[in-house]
């Protein structure tokens, strides 16, 4: 039996909101990072859904790009987090406020 596309989109919206809340409220850099991944994959899910609804592969192609970019972003982001930890002995993002005006 086929799950209706609307359910997919609602799941996607739910995941996106969860990720967004994670980004906004969590203080650990790793958790924030994971939340961002969650948001990206929520978008991926909606893209795949739209591809299916429309009956072509455009959305799926876009998902591959997002995955690649997400992988690259993981490399860079983790490197930044590791470096922050090395220099400050913390990964709490509220402790990293050098840009305060």
């Amino acid at each position: 039996m086929a799950v209706p596309p609307l359910a997919h989109l609602m799941l996607s919206a739910l995941l996106f909101t969860l990720g967004m809340i994670g980004v906004l409220v969590r203080r650990s850099a790793l958790i924030v990072f994971m939340s961002i991944e969650l948001m990206l994959n929520a978008v991926n899910l909606s893209l795949v859904t739209f591809a299916r609804v429309r009956g072509n592969v455009d959305g799926q192609v876009l998902v591959f790009f997002v995955l690649v970019v997400a992988a690259v972003e993981v490399v860079v982001g983790l490197a930044i987090i590791v470096n922050i930890y090395r220099s400050r002995q913390t990964v709490d993002i509220d402790d990293v406020d050098l840009l305060r005006g």
């Binding site: 980004v23 906004l24 409220v25 509220d94 406020d97 050098l98 840009l99 305060r100 005006g101």
Partner: protein, 625 residues
């Protein structure tokens, strides 16, 4: 050859300036002195060689184009030097007197910490003055004209830590600048009228391009004369020269007596062809000269400061020179310029020796009886004083007499004023001599006073010699004299307004009259200040003279006061309007930034929230559209 020599004359002192200015602090005093005197001495030799070339090839006029300076369309200005009898005679005077004063300065400035700076300025002055003298067009002359003004400022304010000296320097600079505005406008007008400012072209074309007595000629002559009035300290712009005595005394001798202040006379003689086309301007020149001559001589009568007496005397003698050129006696003007350079430099150097002996004292009320302690200085001063008073056979007699004779031919009143000024001249200079060198000893001053060292003595002796024999330059039973014959190629036949060759008897009577006045002045002064048996004048008169006829007071009220008020208003307006606008803009931007600063918390969460809010707002915008 001529080209090289002509270029070398100003360039040698310029090289001395560069050397002493850049490395003077590291060179020893001896090296500085050798460079300064050596370059000027070498320039003197070059001038003498050039003089010899001009003398052996009479009538030879050579224009030396060093390079093309600037050009625009038809206006082409070359850096041009003009070598002719007039410029070379003037260059010889400048170099000769300048060299002697450089040597004298070595002794005078011996203990001054600014030794190298002093000689650098002095060399720069020589370079500028020689540029002025040898200039082949008005624009090049203007370089020298402003250059000597700059050096005058620098040297008057040489002891810049003294407020009086600094103020005097500024005053000299500003007052001469007033005249220079006219001079600069005159240069522009000359460009407009002639298309060039080349002296030879202007001389040749003056008769063709300028209508006799026409507005153009009069305007040009008056504008140029304005520059001369400022530079040569004539009425009404004389006020800077007495204050200029704040500078070192050799500077007063060189710049403010012998050379720079005569630049105005030289310029008028140089452009006499233009001035002759404007009879009104010529009359004005003569009148200003005559009035200045007697005015400054009267001011010198009561001046208590030795150097300021000499300053007024310089103004007065410059007045005689303007009187001479104003009546068309250009040769006589240059002759008096030359003899005045000798005897006034001598007087200043003698005054400098007195100051040197008395540790800077210039107030004659504190002096007296110095003849016993400074016999050689007193002798030098006496020779200069007698030459100034016009006693034969000293040079001042011949030159002043020549001027008075020419003035008599032009107008009887010019002669009367001139002769009266001559009488005052002998009174004030004998007074200065008597108060300084004769009479009772002074109090507590001059205990160890003695004649100056040889390095200062020798220039005085040479100048005294020149003062004695200098009259030979112009002396002759029949006009013109040696100097005038030498200048003949430049000051062409018929240049004088008045036909030459009066009767011999009339000539003799004039000579006798002026000699009589001079001797009478000396006698009066002798009885007043040496014997003290004669008392003249009233408190009212002496008060008037002591305040220089209140000219400075009037200037202070009419010019200086309003100018200062305007300056204060402008300064206040600048602060409260222009500065306030600029500062206000900057401050409001700063305040805006300050208030926006709170947004930059540095917390990643907040930035994420802003992005979210922004995204939601965008969504709302798109959806609701």
């Amino acid at each position: 050859m001529t080209r090289t020599l002509a270029a070398l004359i100003p360039l040698l002192p310029l090289a001395g300036w560069i050397a002493n200015g850049l490395w003077g602090g590291r060179l020893g005093r001896r090296a500085v002195a050798v460079i300064a005197c050596g370059t000027v001495g070498a320039a003197s030799v070059a001038a003498a060689l050039l003089f010899w070339r001009v003398e052996t090839a009479p009538g030879a006029l050579s224009r030396v184009d060093l390079y093309r300076w600037f050009g625009a369309g038809t206006v082409q200005v070359a850096f041009r030097l003009l070598v002719d009898p007039l410029s070379i005679a003037m260059a010889l005077v400048v170099c000769g007197v300048g060299f002697l004063i450089h040597v004298y300065s070595v002794g005078y400035m011996d203990e001054d910490p600014g030794f190298a700076r002093y000689f650098a300025y002095l060399n720069l002055f020589m370079a500028a003055m020689l540029t002025l003298v040898l200039a082949g067009n008005l624009v090049v002359m203007f370089i020298g004209w402003e250059g000597v003004g700059l050096c005058s400022y620098l040297l008057i304010a040489f002891w810049f830590t003294r407020p009086a000296a600094a103020a005097a320097g500024v005053k000299a600079f500003l007052v001469t600048r007033l005249g220079d505005v006219g001079f600069l406008l005159g240069i522009f007008l000359a460009f407009g009228l002639f298309g060039t400012t080349d002296f030879t072209v202007m001389t040749q074309e003056a008769a063709r391009r300028l209508a006799l007595g026409g507005g153009a000629a009069t305007a040009l002559a008056l504008l140029l004369f304005a520059g001369a009035v400022g530079k040569s300290a004539q009425l009404p712009l004389y006020v800077w020269l007495p204050d200029a005595m704040e500078g070192p005394t050799p500077v007063s001798a060189l710049i403010h007596a012998a050379t720079m202040v005569t630049a105005g006379v030289y310029m008028i003689v140089r452009l006499h062809a233009v001035f002759l086309r404007a009879p009104f301007a010529m009359d004005l020149v003569a009148a200003v000269g005559a009035i200045t001559a007697i005015f400054a001589a009267a001011c010198a009568l009561v001046e208590p400061d030795l150097k300021r007496v000499l300053a007024y005397s310089t103004i007065s003698q410059l007045g005689y020179m303007f009187l001479a050129v104003g009546v068309g006696a250009f040769g006589a003007g240059i002759f008096h310029l030359t003899s005045h350079a000798f005897f006034k430099a001598l007087l200043f150097l003698a005054a400098g020796s007195v100051m040197h002996a008395l540790h800077g004292e210039t107030d004659m009320r504190h002096m007296g009886g110095l003849a016993r302690r400074l016999p050689r200085t007193a002798g030098a001063f006496a020779i200069g004083a007698l030459a100034l008073a016009g006693i034969p056979p000293l040079s001042g007699f011949f030159s002043k007499d020549l001027i008075l004779a020419e003035a008599f031919r032009a107008h009887i009143w010019l002669w009367v004023v001139g002769v009266a000024g001559a009488g005052l001249t002998s009174i004030y200079i004998v007074r200065a001599f008597a108060l300084t060198f004769l009479g009772g000893s002074m109090r507590n001053l001059g205990e160890g006073a003695h004649d100056p060292p040889p390095v200062m003595d020798a220039p005085m002796r040479l100048l005294a010699g020149l003062t004695v024999v200098g009259g030979a330059l112009g002396w002759s039973f029949t006009h013109p004299g040696v100097l005038e014959r030498f200048l003949q190629p430049v000051i062409a036949e018929g240049a004088t307004l008045v036909p030459r060759g009066g009767s011999g008897a009339g000539e003799a009577a004039l000579v006798a009259a002026s000699l009589l006045i001079a001797v009478a002045g000396i006698a009066v002064s002798w009885r007043m200040y040496v014997r003290r048996t004669l008392r003249l004048g009233s408190p009212w008169l002496s008060n008037l003279l002591r305040h220089q006829f209140y000219v400075e007071t009037v200037y202070a009220a009419v010019v200086v006061g309003p100018a200062r008020a305007l300056a204060r208003t402008a300064a206040a307006a600048d602060r409260s309007v222009i500065d306030a606008a600029v500062v206000g803009v900057a401050r409001s931007i700063g305040r805006a930034g300050q208030s926006l600063r709170g947004l930059q918390t540095g917390y990643l969460t907040h930035y994420a929230a802003f992005i979210l809010i922004g995204a939601i707002l965008l969504l709302v915008f798109w959806v609701s559209r």
